[in-house]
């Protein structure tokens, strides 16, 4: 019965393929149009635009790549990547208090962030295992919950229990971290390590090399036993369980990996920015990364490395040009600001709707299939297929 239904879906897939491709390309196409309209209106010089896009690619790619692994494991868009971002920030705050600067500072911050990320990831994964079928909303609420804990630690415990020496980081009241922590002595150290200038466009080669290493790692990881297991779990948890895969553990590992990568990604992101907005840097980062990934043509259950880079380019081009274009068209600079916020949310909404409708359609297709088979051979129809 299982084999029969598989055959059915593969033949079904061939028919839907064109529609699928069109659907997948629709969001990137829409963005290409938006960008094509906005770029001339915004009137930014090509070199400025190119510079900005290259900078943002270096800054955001790593973070967005961290989303790929949970998607592989069928856990949807990991809104809990914010957890890793917070771990990265804690690492950076401590390192800047110890005055460890430059690349060694980043490495040390990453080493500090990793155990925190692992713990948060395990916690998040365990909770998500209890909320199967609604991972996304749970991981989304999780990011708020851990943000509360983060604030407790950073605003009250740092300087109180966790020693913080420098008054440039500590609030004047004696405990808690300031709104902004300067990373001046780490600022763009990674980007400038090997930086080449092409026609006035600065290319942070070292950052791209690290992003490249992560890409290679992800490609390699897909082929490992664990990666295969994750894909199996992502396809069908029950089948994976029957095949002897520890589904719960695999899911937790995928979240832990994503959280750890997000922590490192946040460190790369912040070294480029040059300062930490202690209480807000992480709050929007999940949303932006997810929006960028979806703009690149990914969906909730399918994302590739290509989606990441296309998404960064398109999403951030829109981000750069929208305020200027909006100001030019309406005479109010805020319109463009709100427009890009709206677009980010609308893209995510659209992608979620597309995913859910697709899921329902597949469900009803397999339901019909099941019913047909049941009619044919009532005795063989097991209760198992009922919950597909």
């Amino acid at each position: 019965m299982r084999a029969g239904s598989n055959k059915y879906t593969t033949s079904e897939k061939k028919n839907v393929d064109y529609g699928m491709i069109l659907q997948q390309a629709s969001v990137p196409l829409m963005f290409i149009i938006i960008c094509a309209v906005c770029i001339p209106i915004a009137g930014l010089s090509p070199s400025y635009l190119a510079n900005e896009i290259v900078t943002r690619m270096g800054r955001n790619s790593f973070l967005i790549l961290s989303l790929l692994i949970p998607i592989m494991a069928g856990m949807g868009l990991n809104f809990g990547m914010t957890l890793g971002a917070m771990a990265g920030e804690i690492g950076l705050i401590l390192v800047s208090d110890w005055q460890i600067v430059g690349i060694p500072g980043m490495v040390l911050a990453a080493i500090i962030s990793i155990p925190i990320s692992i713990l948060l990831g395990i916690f998040c994964g365990k909770i998500l295992n209890k909320a199967k079928g609604r991972e996304m909303i749970t991981s989304y609420i999780m990011s708020f919950f851990i943000n509360g804990i983060y604030q407790l630690v950073v605003l009250y415990l740092m300087g109180f229990i966790i020693p913080i020496k420098h008054s440039s980081i500590k609030l004047p009241r004696g405990y808690g971290i300031r709104n902004t922590v300067s990373l001046l002595r780490m600022r763009q150290h990674l980007d400038n390590l090997i930086a080449i200038n092409v026609n006035g466009i600065k290319i942070p080669v070292m950052t791209f090399i690290i992003v490249g290493i992560l890409c290679v790692f992800i490609i390699w990881f897909r082929k490992t036993k664990l990666g295969q297991d994750m894909r199996a779990v992502g396809q069908d948890m029950e089948v994976a369980r029957d095949a002897g895969i520890d589904v719960e553990r695999t899911r937790i590992i995928s979240i832990v990996m994503s959280t750890v990568l997000a922590g490192i990604g946040m460190i790369i992101y912040l070294q480029n920015m040059g300062n930490i907005a202690t209480y807000s840097s992480h709050s929007q980062i999940g949303m932006f990364c997810i929006a960028a990934l979806l703009v690149g043509g990914a969906s909730v259950d399918r994302a590739s490395i290509g989606n990441v880079f296309l998404g960064v380019i398109l999403f951030h081009t829109m981000f750069i040009v929208a305020p200027r274009a909006g100001a030019y068209i309406t005479g109010d600079s805020m319109i463009g600001e709100y427009f890009r916020v709206f677009v980010s949310y609308a893209v995510i909404t659209l992608a979620l709707i597309m995913y859910e409708t697709k899921k329902r359609r597949e469900k009803s297709v397999s339901g019909q299939q099941l019913r047909a088979e049941q009619d044919r051979d009532e005795a063989k129809a097991s209760g198992k297929g009922g919950n597909v």
Binding site: I137, Y338, Y345, T349, L352, I353, K359, N387
Partner: protein
């Protein structure tokens, strides 16, 4: 002896169904209430604050009930209804209505918006059964950010609402002085010493709550509960599931629109732009603290939950500040309310349809 053991079992069982987070939150509030006089906080003022804040927020929390009942989950899309309410509020002022009458007109104007948006929202949620909560969240976000542009672009002219220097675009906060500030609270307000009870608002809430309660006992109402608890059975019994779900979403949206108006008349200001963004989360956690779950909610949950939630919101800052000179209220509020939502999401429900 045996009796005491069964008693113990009973207590343990009821505690288990009550849920640990809820127990912690209730215990925490009780602790705050006990501590309050010792740390020099004025208890009557505190209680008065809780009652007032309850009256502001009650309807917003009530807006959760219909959707939970029909199995659409927690209404994270509350901002959509809030936007209808805001449209009603701003248009009522724009058309020149003043005083308490502007409140009535705001409700009247908000209603069609709520019905239309609610119907669209309900139609959408029927398309994506099973993934309601996440999509609801993002529908709320998208609509709020879309309206951010609209507040700037729509041709409002009332000088009390637009930016003074440019003469267009609504302000971020609009004072309701001269409009419907305290429109409900002022009706039959009782003042005893430091305690003031907004009788009108409470009655208005009671009226709506009773309306919902009565509705849930009508034929359509029981059908709604049936759809929520077992959609397959409901369909077999000849109930049009999609229509019932749509109705519940419209009701929730309309209640949210009314809810924000009630909130504004107590608060005294209309807050636009990003203000409605996260308004769903306090309402969601309030009803959960009150004992609701993802697919079960009663009027009692609303009342208890709002009192507990608002109790924590109002009591923590004062008590904490007086006790340890650290204002940790914000952090405590986030951890408590988000922890509650997380807990509810991890409970087993028959979410699979």
């Amino acid at each position: 002896m045996t009796e005491s053991i069964t008693m113990k079992d009973k207590i343990m069982a009821s505690l288990k169904s009550f849920g640990l987070p809820r127990l912690i939150i209730t215990g925490f509030l009780l602790l705050l209430l006990i501590m309050a006089p010792f740390v020099g906080a004025d208890l009557p003022t505190q209680i008065s604050n809780i009652i007032n804040r309850f009256s502001w927020n009650g309807v917003l929390v009530l807006a959760m009930v219909p959707m939970v009942h029909s199995g659409c989950g927690l209404n994270f899309g509350l901002p959509l209804g809030i936007i209808s309410g805001l449209l009603g509020a701003t248009l009522s002022i724009e058309f020149g209505f003043t005083g308490a009458f502007s409140f009535l007109m705001a409700i009247v104007i908000a209603t069609p918006f709520a019905l239309v948006l609610g119907a669209l929202y309900g139609w959408l949620l029927n398309k994506i059964k099973g993934g309601e909560m996440m999509i609801a969240t993002y529908v709320g976000f998208s609509s709020v950010s879309l309206m951010c542009m609209m507040w700037l672009l729509l041709p409002y002219h009332s000088p009390n609402m637009v930016w003074g220097f440019s003469g267009k675009g609504l302000r971020t906060t609009i004072s309701l002085e001269g409009y419907y500030n305290q429109a409900l609270a002022g009706i039959g307000q009782i003042n005893i010493g430091n305690v003031s009870i907004p009788t009108g608002t409470l009655l208005f809430f009671a009226l709506l709550a009773f309306g919902i309660w009565a509705f849930l006992h009508t034929k359509t109402g029981t059908a709604m509960t049936a759809v929520g608890s077992n959609p397959v059975f409901a369909r077999a019994a000849g109930i049009n599931v999609d229509r019932i779900r749509m109705l519940s979403v419209i009701m929730s949206t309309w209640l949210a629109a009314i809810g924000i108006l009630v909130y504004e008349q107590g608060f005294g200001f209309i807050q636009l732009y990003m203000a409605p963004f996260y308004m769903a989360l306090p309402a969601v956690s309030a009803i959960l603290i009150g004992g609701a779950s993802v697919n079960k909610a009663s009027i009692m949950n609303v009342i208890v939950g709002t009192i507990l939630f608002q109790g924590i919101v109002t009591m923590t800052p004062t008590v904490m500040n007086n006790m340890i000179h650290m204002d940790m209220s914000e952090v405590i509020r986030i951890i408590a309310s988000m922890g509650m939502i997380l807990f509810a999401l991890t409970r087993k429900t028959e979410a699979s349809r």
